[in-house]
């Protein structure tokens, strides 16, 4: 009996706490439904060239202090785990078309640009983020 009283007491305290919090910051409780055509999960997704040929996989996203994505880490190429390398590309070089299952994420970079890009190694050091030579030329 004593124990259930204790549990009730704790419950009451928790409820009071959450009510107090709700008073301070009103939380939006509406649930929004986002269909997969409008927003997609990108981690581990295939990355293609503009023509739709697979060139790598998106393995990480670098964001700034505001949570805005700055660069994507893409694992390129390789055969049976040999010769693959990770490159951080500027977020602006990626184009997302969730509606197109063939090229959900396309990278606007030529094979030569990818080849010349420095490898992304240690996330704790300054990342060498690759920007397409002329971002304006590649944007539609």
């Amino acid at each position: 009996m004593q124990r259930s009283a204790l549990v009730l007491g704790v419950l009451a305290a928790v409820l009071a706490g959450s009510v107090a919090q709700a008073d301070e910051v009103p939380l939006p409780s509406a649930v929004q439904s986002v269909p997969p055509e409008d927003a997609e999960a990108i981690l581990g997704q295939r990355v293609t060239d503009p023509d739709g040929a697979e060139i790598g996989r998106l393995v990480d996203v670098l964001v700034d202090a505001n949570g805005q994505p700055q660069a994507a880490v893409i694992d390129f190429g390789g055969f049976m785990g040999v010769g693959n390398r990770k490159i951080a590309v500027h977020w602006g070089a990626l184009r997302f078309t969730p509606r197109d299952p063939k090229r959900k994420i396309a990278l606007d970079m030529t094979p030569d640009q990818i080849k010349a890009a420095p490898e992304f190694r240690n996330p704790n050091k300054a990342a060498a983020v690759v920007t397409p030579a002329d971002p304006n030329a590649s944007s539609p």
């Binding site: 999960a41 996989r57 190429g77 055969f79 785990g81 010769g83």
Partner: protein, 406 residues
């Protein structure tokens, strides 16, 4: 009489198939784990941890696994148990890509790999006897490399069309023909003299470790992999930096061509080991390694790197045949063959583990060519140790005659 003679011919063929299918199974496991976990949104750190756990298990498991196989009277059962472990690991990965099952699968696969390599060598030893072991190991190496090369070519070429999950189901499925081939080797006189009384025979380990020849050879094995293990990844990196859209085809050739060289060359190595002795072949294999490092450092472009890689087929054939052969030489008359394989396996894993880190550091600091030169230098040290310190180990006819199966 015929019932005894026919299965003997069949048993050799069946052992060929065991080597082929086990190589198939092992080829798929490593490279696809990383890709598979990436598609399941594992972070790079988590993937690195899972892979390292698998490697660490293989490293730590070498000696216990060797001692375990030594203590099992039925070596076929040891190999079958390892295959069942690999099936379980593959199915765990395919069906449950979450933290605990994946880590469990990595450990299970790591330990099973430690068991299956010495177990197959032990079955070969009992089947062929000491006198004909070289030839039998040459066949083993040939069929392993055919399995490796074929599986790498097929899986690499079609991997993009299948999900990585499918690869693990395929891996589990390929264990079934491996088990069938293992079963059709037949009971044979596999184990009797090769079984220890205790599961963990520490006195046996002590006896092995006072053998100077084993210590020298373990150092040679360690230096071999310290030089060898990082060369292919480094060559792959060189190809991706130099070649454009054909890079993956060149890398595929860098993987498959050496396997073809091993397939062609290893039966000769096995026969020659009985004829001209072990030492000359060790010099050939360990000498090809610095040559390969030099070629990879100086050859221009990306297509020519395939030629450098082809040289690795020579050292791989020698290594693949002579490691179990020397383990047998050094344990004639004892029942510690698998423990000896474990000691050499441990030396191999230690060398390989340091190799990639070391060459990566040198490549970052001084460039890729410097890393190739450094690896070639380590290979040269290995060659010198073989040349100056390693004695001939081919047993005399008197030593091996009682152990030949009747």
């Amino acid at each position: 009489m015929q019932r005894i003679r026919f299965p003997r011919v069949g048993a050799n063929r069946a052992l060929d198939l065991v080597n082929f299918f086990v190589a198939d199974v092992q080829t798929g496991f490593g490279p696809f784990v990383a890709v598979y976990l990436t598609t399941h949104k594992w972070t790079q750190v988590e993937i690195g941890f899972a892979l390292t756990l698998g490697t660490m298990t293989s490293l730590v498991g070498q000696l216990p696994a060797g001692a375990l196989v030594d203590s099992m009277r039925n070596k076929r059962a040891a190999a079958a148990g390892a295959l069942i472990g690999i099936i379980a690991a593959a199915l765990l990965l395919a069906l449950q890509p979450t933290q605990l099952p994946v880590l469990l699968a990595q450990m299970l696969h790591g330990f099973s790999s430690c068991v299956i390599t010495p177990a197959i060598a032990a079955i070969s030893l009992r089947m062929a006897g000491y006198a004909a072991l070289g030839e039998r190991l040459g066949r083993n190496a040939r069929f392993s490399s055919i399995g490796n090369g074929l599986a790498a070519a097929v899986m690499g070429a079609t991997g993009a069309y299948f999900s990585s999950q499918f690869v693990f189901f395929l891996t589990a499925a390929l264990c079934v023909p491996a088990l069938l081939a293992l079963w059709s080797i037949g009971p044979g006189p596999h184990a009797r003299e090769q079984t220890t009384c205790d599961v963990m025979d520490l006195s046996g380990l002590k006896r092995l470790l006072v053998d100077r020849r084993l210590l020298i050879f373990a150092i040679c094995v360690m230096l071999f992999h310290l030089s060898n293990a990082a060369m292919l990844p480094l060559a792959g990196a060189a190809v991706t930096m130099r070649a454009g859209h054909l890079a993956n085809i060149i890398i595929a050739a860098c993987i498959v061509v050496p396997q073809a060289v091993v397939a062609l060359f290893s039966p000769w190595v096995g026969r020659a080991a009985e004829r001209i002795g072990r030492k000359k072949l060790l010099l050939l294999g360990w000498g090809a390694l610095p040559l390969r490092g030099l070629l990879l450092a100086v050859l221009p472009g990306s297509w020519l790197l395939i030629a450098g890689q082809a040289v690795s087929g020579i050292s791989a054939a020698v290594f693949g045949v002579l490691l179990p052969l020397l383990a047998a030489d050094l344990t004639v008359g004892t029942s510690h063959f698998n423990l000896c394989m474990g000691i050499l396996g441990l030396a191999m894993y230690l060398g390989a583990a340091v190799s990639t880190t070391m060459s990566g550091g040198v490549a970052d600091a001084a460039g890729m060519d410097a890393a190739f030169f450094m690896l070639a230098g380590v290979g040269l040290v290995g060659f010198l140790v073989v040349w100056l310190a390693m004695p001939e180990t081919r047993p005399t006819a008197i030593e091996i005659s009682p152990a030949t199966p009747g």
